[in-house]
């Protein structure tokens, strides 16, 4: 229901923006389309731990992007719908508006109105500070995919850095795997029953402010968010059929974040930290680490990056993320060849238990339009009392074939 409402709103906004831009479009050349269509096959290596789950899944995703600009880019319109159809998980088949916005660039500031995506942060293993867009968890297990966020963004660049103000009038619920989906908690999260601390529900207006700057080899940012937390607390409940489910509860929170990165030759030193209040007791969390790049290893064109990051959450075992006290170590190989071949191998080790996860991601381009991505992930030695124990059975290999246009 809520999703439909959001989409209706978006449809009205689209018509409005297109009607605004149409007379102008006629005067200049038409806008441009780009994007991709991709097929994905995912094979799970073990029998499912839960009865409804499948052994493998195939899915297709489509992400076209329309862009049009006027006055040398001082005015622009961007529309990026996103569709995924999945053979196994009904929740993973979904449609979203990733972007639909009008951008006005003035001499000393810019204003963006509509659905957008922004990224905050410097670390690789998790993105603590990045809070504006909701995570599209069902789309990508590694939390790298985000839902489009309706906003008014005013951005002011100056000698002193860049100041961004975000007014976020509508909240997007996190997506979760459905009954048939793998890589989930043992109980399904029933998104239809989502509850809010604010009486305004998903219409609570959230605010965010961020200052970012660079000083020499330092990259710095400080941000504050006030509004509906993106990460719900999951409560025990029952669905209309009387089965036990988890109900997402979205609190009103305040979150202050800092980001820092220092370049020192081939070293990058990184730190992200947050303090969040309003979701249980006030707590802090941070991720810090480094990335070192060996350039032209063994006299070849290849670069090898070594990454290490440590994440800590003051809530300890009560943490809602898998990163309560974890060490990530990774190797990133960049071939610098015509096909842009890349590979990343990593291990995340829980410092308090035996639990660890190992993953490999590799991609290569074929010709000018095709890209192949292979990903494999295994979950090892999760203790039975770990809240993510259910994914122990969900080691998988995934193959993506994408056509870019």
């Amino acid at each position: 229901m809520k999703r439909n409402l959001f989409l209706k709103g978006v449809a009205v906004a689209t018509l409005f923006l297109i009607s605004l831009s149409t007379p102008v479009i006629r005067q200049v050349q038409a806008g441009e389309w780009s994007g991709y269509i991709a097929a994905e096959a995912r094979i799970f290596l073990h029998a499912p731990g839960l009865p409804e789950q499948e052994n493998h899944s195939t899915s297709v995703s489509f992400k076209p992007e329309y862009y049009h600009e006027w006055v040398n880019g001082a005015r622009s319109f961007t529309f990026t719908p996103y569709l995924r159809l999945d053979s196994a998980d009904r929740e993973r088949s979904h449609f979203d508006i990733r972007e639909l916005f009008y951008l006005m660039v003035y001499e000393n500031y810019e204003v963006g109105i509509g659905v957008r995506k922004v990224f905050w942060g410097v670390t690789e293993s998790q993105h603590l500070v990045d809070i504006v867009n909701q995570t599209d968890l069902v789309d990508a297990f590694d939390e790298e995919e985000k839902l489009g966020q309706p906003m008014i963004n005013v951005s002011v660049p100056g000698e002193w850095g860049i100041l961004d103000l975000f007014i976020l009038p509508y909240f997007r619920e996190r997506t979760f795997q459905g009954k048939e989906g793998r890589l989930r908690l043992p109980l399904v999260v029933d998104t239809d029953q989502a509850v809010y601390e604010s009486s305004a529900g998903e219409y609570h207006t959230d605010l965010a402010l961020r200052w970012s700057h660079y000083i020499g080899d330092w990259e710095l940012a400080v941000s504050h968010f006030r509004g509906t937390g993106r990460e719900p607390t999951l409560l025990a409940g029952t669905n209309p059929e009387g089965e036990p489910v988890l109900v997402p509860f979205y609190e009103q929170i305040n979150q202050t974040g800092v980001e820092a990165q220092k370049i020192w030759g081939e070293w990058l030193w990184k730190l992200e930290a947050i303090v969040r209040s309003g979701q249980g007791d006030t707590y802090g969390a941070w991720t810090g680490g480094f990335e070192y790049t060996f350039i032209g290893i063994g006299g070849t064109m290849m670069d090898l990056g070594v990454l290490g990051e440590w994440s800590h959450d003051t809530r300890g075992d009560e943490a809602t993320t898998p990163f309560e006290n974890d060490l990530m170590f990774g190797l990133r190989l960049t071939a610098n060849d015509i096909a842009s071949t890349e590979a990343l191998a990593g291990i995340v080790q829980d410092m308090d238990t035996t639990a660890r996860s190992i993953y490999i991601e590799s991609s290569r381009r074929f010709g000018d339009h095709l890209k192949v991505i292979v990903e494999a992930r295994t979950f090892l030695d999760l203790p039975r009392d770990d809240r993510f124990y259910a994914i122990s059975n969900d080691d998988f290999i995934q193959l993506d074939l994408a056509y870019y246009f």
Partner: protein
């Protein structure tokens, strides 16, 4: 009379001075050629251009990248520039923002459009390949006089013109080269050929410039640059088109916001 005597003395003194100038060392002559080449390029203000990069491996297999470039001249420092990829399509919108400096490392940011992420990247990677091409980052970076020391070698005919041949030695310890041999024509101080010598001082690459065109009645730009790697047999051809000078770009067109919407 005394005045005349002084005058004669003055002329004499000046001519000594001139003789000293003419006896400049090969290093001084090399530097003055480099400075004259830079002086002739001063004052362009800004420019935009489009570039097609054709990568070819030993077996003749080709791959093409298309890049748009905006550059702003910064008086007293290195240029600011934004380069945006249009092709291959999976990297469309990927963009680099560079603040180059006469002294010290450049500041560089990379924009990844799929994640909407701006990453500050290390510019100490001088010798690494730029997007799989035979051009290293230091080859495409803003060429500032202060980045090298120089030595004049000889005069020679190049591309049918009278040319200077100078050697330049990178100052940065992370450079992939011991030296570069540069052929510049005497008439316009335009580079026609550069030989790159690797860390072992063996010939690594040769860059040749073709199809010079003059803009605003002053600034020369090559429409074709061809880099051949002698050690691997691979090559990269850059085809430049649509040069526009003094388009009115400002400092504010070169920040992280501008990078994100560069497309």
């Amino acid at each position: 009379m005394r005045c005349i005597a002084f005058f004669v003395l003055f002329i004499f003194a000046s001519s000594i001075n001139l003789t000293v100038l003419h006896a400049e060392t090969p290093e001084e002559k090399g530097l003055s050629i480099a400075m004259e080449a830079e002086r002739r390029n001063d004052g362009f203000g800004d420019f935009t251009a489009e570039m097609v990069m054709v990568l070819k491996n030993r077996h003749g297999l080709e791959s093409t990248r298309e890049i748009r470039i905006k550059t702003l001249e910064v008086p007293g420092d290195g240029d600011k520039s934004i380069s945006v990829f249009d092709n291959p399509r999976d990297v469309k919108g990927t963009a680099f923002l560079t603040f180059s400096h006469k002294v010290g490392d450049d500041d560089q940011w990379l924009y990844l459009p799929a994640l909407k992420r701006v990453k500050r990247i290390s510019s100490s990677n001088k010798s690494g390949s730029f997007m799989g091409s035979e051009f290293a980052y230091e080859d495409i970076a803003s060429q500032e006089v202060e980045k090298y020391t120089y030595k004049y070698i000889r005069d020679e005919v190049c591309d049918g013109r009278d040319c200077f041949v100078i050697e330049q030695y990178p100052i940065h310890p992370k450079s992939g080269y011991t030296r570069q041999v540069v052929w510049l024509d005497k008439a316009e101080y335009r580079p026609f050929r550069i030989d790159y010598y690797d860390r072992k001082d063996s010939l690594l690459k040769t860059l040749t410039f073709k199809g010079y065109k003059q803009y605003l009645g002053r600034y020369w730009r090559a429409s074709e640059m061809y880099m051949l790697n002698h050690q691997t047999g691979k090559s990269t051809r850059l085809l430049w088109k649509d040069y526009k000078f003094r388009t009115g770009l400002k400092e504010r067109d070169f920040n992280k916001n501008a990078l994100k919407r560069a497309r």
